[in-house]
């Protein structure tokens, strides 16, 4: 009796194929019941997310037979009539456990080290557990996978840092300000990225948001959406005495903020630190403003470069994580194979 896994993910197949095999949450208990009733598996869990569909099963069948039966189950259950090749992957022990631990740790995710998959895997396991489709073998494997994921999270840098422009901006703000709760954000130009960045700052506790845009209607609508207030575009410099973070993304072809404009504003701010995030192309803020004391200016390239460096850092950590996983899989198999 061993743990096997069959499935398809963002690494092996396009979304058009993945969506054909996706399980709706409410159908999973019945699918698990059908799988067990077919005699292919004595225990099973189905993980179905936007990036992967996987069946983890405990089977007494020979490996090749188990893979063939599981593939047949997937195809039949989803009434799939196309051809399937390398899109579908399958692993037997110890590789199946290795794969499970990697998935739990975010090593197999599109963004290496992301944590959302951990919650999704936990939810999938709990659903199967609640409906009594798991047993000793899968329970142990999943519990160990969650422990390994936590261990990797604390012992390595795999989940460290911001891998998107928005989260890099938030992290920057936290490096400058003691607490975001005391700081207001000014959004100049109601673009999509500035809106997302403002949302991210608000979700991390920023006190409030002020929106300004050449089109007042758009500013009012976004301000209402973000729970902030809108100010006329001509008046945004007046807000500089109150705000501490400004995100700019207008379609202006020239700098809307330069050193000569900012210098007197900084005096009015009593030289409190000011974080300027310029995500406009062409740039809205003259790079010379960063020569001013207490002004921290980051443009879209700077933020992207931070995110890219973090991705590299995470990739450097993969080998360390793989080593930990290898050790933990070996330990689990030794424990399972040792007679009590």
């Amino acid at each position: 009796m061993s743990v096997v896994v069959i499935g398809l993910s963002h690494r092996s197949s396009p979304v058009a194929l993945r969506e054909r095999f996706a399980f709706a949450g409410e159908t999973i208990p019945d699918a698990l019941a059908a799988l067990r009733a077919s005699g292919i598996a004595s225990e099973a869990t189905i993980l179905s997310t936007c990036n992967r569909v996987e069946i983890y099963a405990v089977t007494t069948l020979a490996t090749d037979a188990a893979f063939a039966e599981l593939k047949k189950f997937l195809v039949t259950h989803h009434a799939f009539d196309g051809a399937l090749g390398d899109e579908l992957y399958s692993f037997a022990e110890p590789h199946s456990l290795h794969h499970l631990f990697k998935v739990a740790s975010g090593l197999d995710s599109m963004v290496i080290g992301e944590t959302e998959i951990f919650g999704q895997l936990k939810a999938a396991y709990e659903l199967a557990f609640t409906h009594k489709h798991t047993g000793a073998r899968l329970n142990k494997a999943f519990q160990r996978a969650f422990n390994v994921a936590k261990h990797i999270r604390t012992e390595t840098n795999i989940q460290r840092g911001s891998v998107s422009v928005m989260s890099a901006a938030v992290e920057l703000a936290e490096k400058i300000f003691a607490s975001l709760a005391e700081h207001e954000v000014l959004v100049i130009g109601a673009g999509e990225t500035s809106e997302k960045t403002a949302r991210a700052l608000l979700s991390r506790g920023a006190r409030g948001v002020v929106v300004t845009n050449r089109s007042p209607e758009r500013a009012t609508a976004l301000a209402a959406e973000l729970g902030g207030r809108a100010v006329p575009f001509a008046q945004w410099p007046d807000e500089f005495s109150k705000i501490d973070i400004a995100i700019s993304s207008t379609a202006a072809t020239e700098h809307i903020l330069n050193r000569a404009t900012l210098e007197p504003l900084m005096k009015r701010r009593k030289h409190r630190p000011l974080l300027l995030i310029d995500i406009a192309v062409p740039r809205d803020i003259d790079p010379a403003v960063s020569e001013l004391d207490n002004v921290y200016l980051y443009n879209v390239d700077d933020l992207q470069s931070i995110a890219t460096d973090y991705v590299k850092l995470r990739q450097e950590e993969v080998a360390r994580c793989e080593q930990i996983i290898g050790e933990k899989v070996a330990a689990l198999l030794t424990q399972q194979n040792t007679p009590r």
Partner: protein, 273 residues
């Protein structure tokens, strides 16, 4: 164990400060990314040995051990080491110890010079609680100024890295620059209050007849130091002095304090009796 004097004990403490300095170099080269307790325990061991050294000396003298340059310097270092241990317990301030270690080690080695601790002559003329209070508050003030300089150094490093868009600023586990700025200000303010008390108590101590309090080299030096820190605090708090200039001021003022502390002591009749 009679051969094991307080100076041996202090030598051991300085050795631990030295080990902490070496470890700090590794932490610095790694960009202060790993948040471990090794450095904290090295400094803590040093401070324990340091406390033991001062206690031994104090028990021998039956008074607060601040009678010569060696004792004054070790007292200053002790205040600095202890304060850094306390502040290191604040969230994200563990690396304060790494910045303090080089200061403790360098001045500690200097304090070990035998000429700073000459063989004891007759009992000091001035003794008692008031004198101990004067010495303790003044030296604790210098300790606070020292720690302010350390926090200011952390602030300037983090500020530079953030301005230069260095990834090290993001990866390091140092506190936010706003917090570092606040801590620097508070430490300077605490040091200033302690120095004010120290000077006020000092003015009440007995001195040579006919000699005004402000004629002694050390008193003049302390008064100048008091004015420098007062100017720095007032300019920062009320006249918009930038945080960078305030931090630089804290570092320069403490460097000047360290470089002139011994010289003014030597030229001070009041502190050489």
């Amino acid at each position: 164990m009679a051969w094991f004097t307080d100076r041996h004990c202090f030598l051991l403490a300085v050795t631990f400060y030295g080990l902490s300095t070496v470890y700090s170099v590794f932490l610095w080269r790694k960009g202060f990314r790993r948040d471990d307790w090794v450095n904290y325990f090295l400094i803590a061991t040093g401070v324990v040995l340091h406390t033991l050294a001062m206690t031994k000396r104090g028990l021998t003298l039956h008074s607060c051990p601040v009678n010569n340059l060696y004792e004054a310097t070790t007292f200053l270092l002790w205040a600095l080491g202890l304060a850094s241990l306390v502040y290191s317990l604040l969230p994200r301030f563990k690396f304060l110890a790494a910045f303090t270690a080089p200061v403790l080690f360098t001045i500690g080695v200097f304090a070990l010079m035998p000429s700073l601790d000459p063989p004891r002559g007759p009992k000091p003329e001035f003794s008692g609680a008031l004198r101990s209070l004067h010495a303790a508050t003044s030296l604790q003030a210098y300790g606070a100024f020292g720690l302010a300089a350390v926090a200011a150094g952390m602030f300037l490093m983090q500020r530079h890295d953030l301005k230069a868009h260095k990834l090290r600023a993001m990866l390091s586990l140092l506190p936010s620059i706003q917090r570092l700025e606040l801590i620097t200000f508070r430490l300077v303010a605490v040091g200033f209050v302690l120095l004010t008390i120290g000077l006020a108590v000092g003015s009440q101590l007995p001195r040579q007849e006919g000699k005004p309090y402000l004629s002694d080299a050390k008193v003049i030096w302390s008064a100048l130091l008091w004015l420098v820190y007062l100017e720095s605090l007032v300019a920062y708090k009320f006249f918009g002095r930038s945080s960078r200039r305030f931090a630089l001021g804290a570092i320069i003022a403490f460097a000047v304090l360290l470089l002139t502390f011994w010289v003014t002591n030597l030229y001070s009749p009041l502190h050489n009796q």
